[in-house]
């Protein structure tokens, strides 16, 4: 029940903002609701498994593991927006416009929480679609006409992606119907319905569902919406897209892998590894070419999505590493995108060639960019290092040596490409004509918390979290 409260809190907050007088308190309501949601999600991590809403929702290890991750990040972004409400691009404009945007952010958070709790693939699809509809207008910046096009491309690709998923679900339903069974898309009923050997409908359905979800995650070949949307959106919204919605879509993929791996493991594995490698190739080439900081981080997100897809495509050994990597990836993206906003505001550009000496010019942001980039590149002691290492070990253990070799080459190239663009921004010569920037500790607090979580996950995974990860990993292994 505590998880249901967490999922409903943003919707109640939305009603409060929509009520008369809500516009004045919109930011405060957003922060209070996000804090309540995060608190409930953390408290619910130890709650027992339960089925809710007539079986359409349920609490299990996966929702208990990921709810605190996305809700803590949602809270951090809410605090970030609150501290920057006066000038942040996400919230400029008239009070009515600000109110609309806060309502959309709350709808987005509520929908992503419902994805986590979904026990029916159709309910998860609906919640993901609602989160997309809420996010699309948030990408638009008043000061950037190109952001409208980026926003439209995001909606267009997402609609097509979710359309493919819907066709895939229809194929699965037909497969069950053809076997003479009563069709259902409930996660707890599907394994029983799919016990027989897979037919053409099921294989087609699995292929389309994975392709659609891969597109929603920003994996190649249909990833071109992601760099545009991440670059053009206000950075706080980019953090929500990259850290919160990415994980919501990933959870749908985890559920799909769990349900369909027993009968369609080879198809799932082959498709995921292929899409993952394609994404790594495409993003590495773009990482080498780009000098725009936010676009670079967007391509790094595609790269990381590829790593996760490859890990998920492997059978047994990589599940723990994938989960650790996905969790750390969420915090890394949140840190880096929120930092990118501060840097852009200070320097007036996102071009890495025009930015230098951040460690002196913007000490907090310089440190966050530096440490975040180390985590992004998968250096120890961060959990991304451990996750990547486990995925690499799994590649060797699965005798996927060609994939292993390609993975190593691509990850090295992306390492060099990212480092050569970002490191001069941190340690280069700072402009001498600028007065030191004023940086509030409260604005830095969310990023500091994210950083602490990253380090804790990398050095020592606390026993309760470790148990949850192991439990989710077991479901992914089909055990």
């Amino acid at each position: 029940m505590i998880h249901l409260a967490a999922a409903l809190a943003p919707w109640l907050g939305l009603l409060a903002v929509a009520a008369p007088g809500g516009a004045r308190r919109a930011h405060a309501i957003l922060v209070v609701v996000a804090a309540a949601t995060a608190g409930l999600a953390i408290a619910g991590a130890a709650a027992p498994d339960e089925v809710l809403a007539g079986g359409y929702l349920r609490v299990d290890a996966t929702s208990r593991l990921f709810a605190p991750v996305i809700d803590v990040i949602f809270f951090g972004v809410a605090v970030h927006l609150w501290t920057r409400a006066g000038g942040a691009a996400a919230l400029v404009g008239t009070p009515a416009r600000r109110r609309r945007r806060v309502m959309l952010i709350l709808a987005f958070g509520g929908a992503c929480n419902l994805v986590l709790l979904g026990n029916d693939l159709m309910v998860m699809w609906l919640a993901l679609e609602v989160s997309t509809l809420a996010a699309a207008p948030l990408i638009v910046r008043l000061d950037d006409p190109a952001s409208r096009v980026a926003s439209w491309r995001y909606l267009l690709f997402s609609t097509v992606a979710l359309g493919l998923v819907l066709v895939g679900l229809g194929c699965v339903t037909r497969s069950v119907h053809a076997a003479g069974l009563e069709p259902s898309l409930r996660l707890d009923e599907l394994p029983g319905l799919l016990a027989g050997p897979p037919d053409a409908w099921r294989q087609l359905g699995v292929g389309l569902i994975v392709l659609g979800l891969a597109t929603k995650l920003g994996l190649a070949p249909m990833y071109s919406w992601l760099p545009d949307a991440y670059e053009r959106a206000p950075s706080s919204i980019t953090a929500l897209l990259g850290a919160v919605q990415f994980n919501a879509a990933l959870i749908v993929l985890l559920r799909v892998v769990h349900v369909f791996r027993p009968g369609s493991g080879a198809l799932l594995g082959g498709e995921l590894v292929t899409l993952g490698l394609l994404s790594m190739v495409a993003s590495t080439a773009s990482l080498i070419a780009t000098r725009d900081v936010k676009r670079l981080l967007a391509y790094a997100s595609v790269n990381h999505g590829g790593v996760i897809a490859i890990g998920l495509g492997l059978h047994r050994e990589a599940a723990y590493g994938v989960l650790l990597y996905a969790m750390s990836n969420a915090f890394i993206k949140a840190i880096l995108f929120l930092t990118a906003e501060k840097i852009e505001l200070r320097c007036g550009t996102r071009d890495a060639r025009a930015i230098a000496g951040l460690i002196k010019d913007l000490p907090y942001s310089g440190v966050f960019l530096m440490v975040g980039t180390f985590a992004l590149l998968g250096l120890p002691p961060f959990s991304s290092f451990l996750g990547e290492l486990l995925i690499l070990s799994a590649l060797v253990a699965s005798d996927e040596l060609l994939v292993f070799a390609a993975f190593c080459v691509l990850i090295t190239m992306s390492f060099v490409a990212t480092g050569r663009t970002i490191f001069p921004m941190i340690w280069g010569q700072a402009p001498t004509d600028r007065s030191p920037a004023r940086q509030s500790a409260l604005a830095a607090l969310p990023k500091l918390v994210f950083l602490l979580v990253l380090i804790v996950l990398g050095i020592y995974v606390p026993a309760p979290i470790n148990d949850l990860i192991l439990s989710v990993a077991t479901t992914l292994e089909g055990g």
Partner: protein
């Protein structure tokens, strides 16, 4: 049923060859009406609320609201022609080829001849032609027409799947579809006619 499906295939295919936004929107309306007629044939129980939700979805939302939502913006653009696929032999061949591929696909996955197989063929035609329109359009209006064609193909596919979604889920789907149409209208008012040319979103910040 077969006559309805043949008619639906015709209204999916013919507007591609006529470079007019009016014909495209009328085609969408006709698709909605035919889908509603097929839906009524499959679920004739008018005492069931689920039937009414289905008919409102297909006839009212897809057949009326969707084309009407796009119409005022299409009028404002005042383009004499609005081809939703390039008007050349290659595109036309691709479109006809996709119809053939869709029906061949139906032969493979539905071994028994009949309405079920034909529904799969027509639904696959709708999905493939929707993707063809999407892949050849730069402007938002054409892309939206592509998305709506794709959605109509998916709706027919769901109709023939043999499973009836819970009424709550269907209503939620309908609400999401209407919200998508509202967003489409907003984008049509705010986006340039040729979004791809106006955006150049890939250019570097420098």
């Amino acid at each position: 049923m077969s006559a309805l499906l043949v008619a639906l295939t015709a209204v999916m295919l013919l507007p591609l060859f006529l470079g007019s936004w009016r014909v495209s929107l009328v085609g969408l309306a006709a698709q909605g009406a035919l889908l509603a007629a097929i839906g009524y044939r499959l679920h004739p129980d008018t005492a069931a609320p689920a039937t009414w939700v289905l008919l409102v979805d297909l006839a009212v939302v897809r057949g009326l609201i969707a084309p009407l939502a796009l119409r005022p913006v299409a009028v404002v653009t005042r383009q004499a022609r609005h081809d939703i696929i390039p008007p050349n032999l290659l595109s036309w061949t691709l479109a006809v080829g996709m119809v053939l591929v869709a029906f061949r696909f139906a032969d493979v996955v539905e071994p028994v001849a009949g309405d079920a197989r034909m529904m799969v063929g027509v639904a696959a035609t709708g999905v493939l032609l929707g993707l063809l329109v999407l892949s050849t359009q730069n402007g938002p209006l054409g892309q939206m027409i592509g998305v709506l064609r794709l959605e109509n193909g998916i709706a027919l596919f769901e109709l023939g799947s043999g499973a009836e979604p819970a009424i709550g889920v269907h209503v939620a789907q309908l609400v999401v579809f209407v919200a998508t149409l509202v967003l489409f209208r907003w984008y049509l008012h705010t986006l340039p006619v040729d979004a791809a040319a106006a955006a150049a979103p890939g250019e570097e910040a420098a």
